[in-house]
């Protein structure tokens, strides 16, 4: 249990750092996909099968692809900026380190967390999950559906580009009026 975890965790973190620091944006996106895959592996390791597969399906199959498309559509893949860091990057880094330090301190200090290991109880099946979702959590599920629909429509509207298309010739459509030189 320890060794697989270590391998997955190391890979995921390295991929995460790469995703945040590489120069070529497409590489960043591919590393992001690797992070998602690592997390999915971790979910599987933790016995959350359904979530793990959903993670792959949604994050790798959709979000990573979306990011890639955005990169290509904004032409940022080809243009290499002289620097990829923002002006206040030192500040950002310091903040991140501080946050991390605080979190670690809290985790290690917490008594509820410390030393807790895996319980032996049986894990729920997909059927249980479905039953729960369709009964107790039906309202959040519906709201979620509504949100997704709204988000899709909104995204399409935002990203839609109004442009005048080049009209193909149709029977009877006239060309330019005669202009004699």
């Amino acid at each position: 249990m320890q060794i697989p975890f270590a391998i997955i965790a190391a890979l995921t973190i390295v991929a995460g750092i790469a995703a945040m620091s590489l120069r070529k944006l497409v590489h960043c996106a591919l590393c992001l996909a690797l992070v998602f895959a690592g997390l999915a592996a971790m979910y599987l390791q933790l016995g959350a099968q359904f979530v793990g597969f959903a993670q792959i399906l949604v994050y790798i199959g959709a979000v990573a692809i979306l990011v890639v498309f955005a990169i290509l559509l904004t032409n940022s893949s080809s243009s290499l900026l002289p620097t990829v860091r923002s002006r206040s990057w030192v500040f950002g880094l310091v903040v991140a380190v501080l946050v991390f330090a605080t979190l670690v301190k809290v985790i290690l200090a917490s008594s509820t967390v410390a030393g807790r290991s895996l319980p032996e109880n049986p894990l729920p099946t997909v059927k249980d999950l479905g039953t729960q979702m369709m009964t107790y959590y039906i309202l959040p599920l519906e709201v979620m559906g509504l949100l997704l629909t709204a988000a899709t429509i909104g995204a399409v509207i935002i990203a839609m580009q109004e442009k005048k298309p080049v009209e193909p010739l149709k029977p009877g459509s006239a060309g330019a009026p005669p202009t004699h030189p």
Binding site: N75, P165, V166, E167, P168, L169, K170, P171, G172, S173, A174, G175, A176, P177, P178, T179, H180
Partner: protein, 398 residues
């Protein structure tokens, strides 16, 4: 214009002729960049039927600019012909439109006959009609195959087309000795007479061909994908077609009734009963269908010609093989080859070599409107529009 369009075409006939004088140029050269993608399709590209190149500017998948680039098969046919005798150019004409050597031969022979006044005997005229119409069958069948290939059918229509082509090529081979490069016509007649039994072979080949046309139609014409891919695509309005000197099936698909077999009545075409199919939309589907219908009419002509062919000599006795020197003068002769009007313009200065030898290539001139037809369509459409124009690079570049 109304006399051109035998029946009212869909909403396109107006009293005053519309002029397509200078093509509307929707884009300038400086505009490319940003979101637009420049793709040079060709000269080695699977879709361009040889070594043709289209410099395409794409907005997404949409064509906003398309410039044809020629010359990758410019083999200097005219220059070579001006440096050699009249007869020696005949085999070179085979290699112009290398799918239809017989009609090329005929066009050249006709021009020289115009220049010199030679008159082919009746049997030769019949043989010319038979071979030319067989050539038309070969060309149109192959074109449909290639068009479907461009549309992405994995070779099956092309295979069926070539299966039938082989049958006709067998006929050509047993008549002229060569499958493709027949070099068959001579000034004032034909080279050799029909071998024994050739007419019967031709008749049975024709029976098979009719059956093939039916199944081919069943196989393709109703196919939803073909219909959806080709209807309304690459529309060519009749006025533009006339202004751009478009000829052949492409012109008739736009609804203009102009077939040199009817207009010039060259050879003996006035003796045959056949009709000229006309399209109303001028799109890729019409161009495909006009060719299919023309094949049916060709079969009709062939039936009559094979029935009526008389005996007799096959060459004008005045014709000479060696020492052929036409009087000074010039002539322009043209025929309806499968791709359109193929003309030869000859200027003679009395020497054994032509002073000026010019080919009027239908394929090249039919490409004039390629950009007009492709603008606003997707790149996949541009490919099949090019396919429906029916070009052969040997003739485009010469």
């Amino acid at each position: 214009m109304s006399e051109l369009l035998e029946a009212p075409a869909a909403g396109s006939v107006t009293a005053a002729p519309r002029n397509y004088e200078i093509l509307p140029k929707p884009t300038d050269d400086g505009e490319v960049g940003g979101d637009l993608l420049e793709v040079a399709m060709g000269p080695h590209h699977p879709s361009t039927h040889g070594v043709f190149r289209m410099d395409v500017v794409l907005d997404g998948e949409q064509v906003v600019k398309l410039k044809p680039v020629f010359g990758y098969l410019h083999r200097n046919h005219e220059k070579i012909a001006e440096n050699t005798t009249y007869l020696a150019s005949m085999p070179y004409t085979d290699r112009l439109d290398y799918l239809c050597s017989m009609t090329n031969n005929w066009a050249y022979a006709l021009s020289v006959e115009r220049l010199t006044g030679l008159q082919p005997p009746e049997r030769a005229e019949y043989i010319r009609v038979i071979t030319a119409e067989l050539t038309r069958l070969v060309n149109h069948t192959c074109l449909v195959g290639f068009l479907l290939q461009d549309m992405g059918a994995l070779g099956t229509p092309l295979m069926y087309a070539f299966r039938e082509r082989e049958i006709i090529l067998d006929l050509f081979e047993s008549l002229t000795g060569s499958r493709m490069m027949c070099n068959y016509m001579r000034f004032g007649g034909c080279r050799v007479d029909l071998p024994v039994g050739w007419l019967d072979q031709a008749r049975s080949a024709l029976d098979g061909y009719e059956e093939f046309l039916e199944t081919f139609q069943k196989f393709l014409t109703e196919n939803e994908i073909l219909v959806a891919r080709s209807q309304g695509i690459g529309v060519l309005p009749p006025e533009l077609a006339i202004s751009a000197s478009i000829t052949g099936p492409m012109l008739r698909a736009s609804g203009v009734n102009y077939d040199l077999r009817k207009v010039d009545k060259y050879g003996i075409y006035d003796r045959f009963d056949f009709r000229v199919p006309l399209g109303d939309h001028g799109d890729v589907y019409d161009r495909y269908m006009i060719r299919v219908l023309e094949m049916q009419e060709s079969v009709k002509i062939l039936r009559q010609a094979l029935r009526d062919i008389p005996g007799g000599p096959i060459v004008d006795p005045k014709a000479k093989i060696r020492g052929f020197r036409p009087k000074a003068g010039e002539a322009y002769g043209r025929i309806e080859c499968p791709k359109g009007e193929l003309g030869f313009y000859l200027i003679s200065d009395g020497s054994p070599n032509p002073y000026r030898y010019r080919v009027r290539p239908p394929s090249l001139i039919n490409l004039t409107v390629l950009e007009d037809m492709c603008l606003g369509q997707t790149v996949a459409d541009a490919v099949i529009i090019l396919g429906s124009v029916d070009i052969v690079l040997g003739e485009v570049d010469r």
